[in-house]
Homo-oligomer: 150 residues x 3
């Protein structure tokens, strides 16, 4: 979980909120497009992807990319189209030494469709990110995904 801060959170500006919505739209599309470079590139070089579905976090862009190579290949082989749907995005400035970062908390639902079948909801999750800007672009420093079913 993202560390709770003692002081009241400061919501991001309209401009930043918008930027984040747009960033996430493209990020979610990149994973569903099975675009490993785009997906891994949306994390910082030392970015972390942690979830209660994995025994250990994936640490670093290379580890995230390697995981996706395998996962995307399995998904393509199974003929499954996935849609990661992020909603209910809340975003606050981090405080203290991490003042240049942003903390977000959102829902991500994953839809799966097989050819000729109705879509099913693969999982519903809570997604907590720490983000930073690198050369003007948002990057995920740390993502903590909590699957509701585990």
């Amino acid at each position: 979980m993202v560390q709770a801060t003692a002081v009241a959170p400061v919501p991001v500006s309209t401009e930043v909120y918008q930027d984040l919505q747009h960033f996430y739209a493209r990020q979610m599309q990149s994973t569903d497009d099975l675009d490993v470079p785009a997906w891994a590139g949306s994390f910082t070089e030392d970015g972390v992807f942690a979830t209660n579905a994995f025994p250990e976090p994936l640490t670093g862009r290379a580890a995230i990319a390697a995981h996706c190579e395998r996962a995307f290949a399995a998904q393509a082989e199974a003929g499954i189209v996935r849609r990661h749907v992020m909603t209910m995005l809340a975003a606050d400035h981090a405080t203290g030494p991490d003042g240049d970062r942003v903390h977000t908390r959102s829902y991500v639902m994953v839809l799966e469709t097989r050819r000729g079948e109705k879509p099913v909801i693969y999982c519903s999750t809570l997604c907590e990110d720490v983000l930073t800007r690198v050369d003007g672009d948002w990057r995920v420093v740390r993502r903590q995904v909590h699957r509701d079913d585990l």
Copy 2:
């Protein structure tokens, strides 16, 4: 239903639309976090929650809180995680004597996940709100939820 106005609606500004998206993200999260004070506090002191799922509207923050205490306890006991997902938010300024208010119309889908099971969609609803600002923060004056299955 929110009373239809005779004059054409005036969409809210970019700034207000953004604010409302952010307000709703936190409000939906507060109910799924089973946070009674935050949820009830997102209504005005005399706020109304009406739905075609209840015989009578809940009137006043205290009544809304009392209802949630019971509902959240039952949900926690059943081991259910809920996600209220609001989408397709449309927002217009109210006209006439209610000119300081905003009317919104959106969809709210409720996902439910039980441990070890796939998520299911509990219900799909149309949500119509009248909102006002209290000390700079958005508050719901009246919510009318229409469940599609009833």
Copy 3:
């Protein structure tokens, strides 16, 4: 599919992104409200609606309206409430001679609810639009919907 451009896409401004979110919220609501004039009117006069679910595209607002008249009547007769839920909206300025246009790429999930039954996901789609402004209002010039199950 919307033709890929050779040059890097230029994301729309905060103001335009917001406008598009709001436009789409109302457009999706208009189809679920079975409001043929509002739905058909959200396309340009010569607008095109293409999908891998139809053998031929619908070309022109009149053809789009005629299709909806039939589809909406069948839906109403079957007692089905639909909710078109658009998410993960990405929007870029078109380049070259179409510089006044915007290309969007988003997900649209269609929920269906029958009286007394739980909602089901009718389909999950990828939606690619070309939009333009007509007298200040956004209109769809061409929509390409790709159903994930077909």
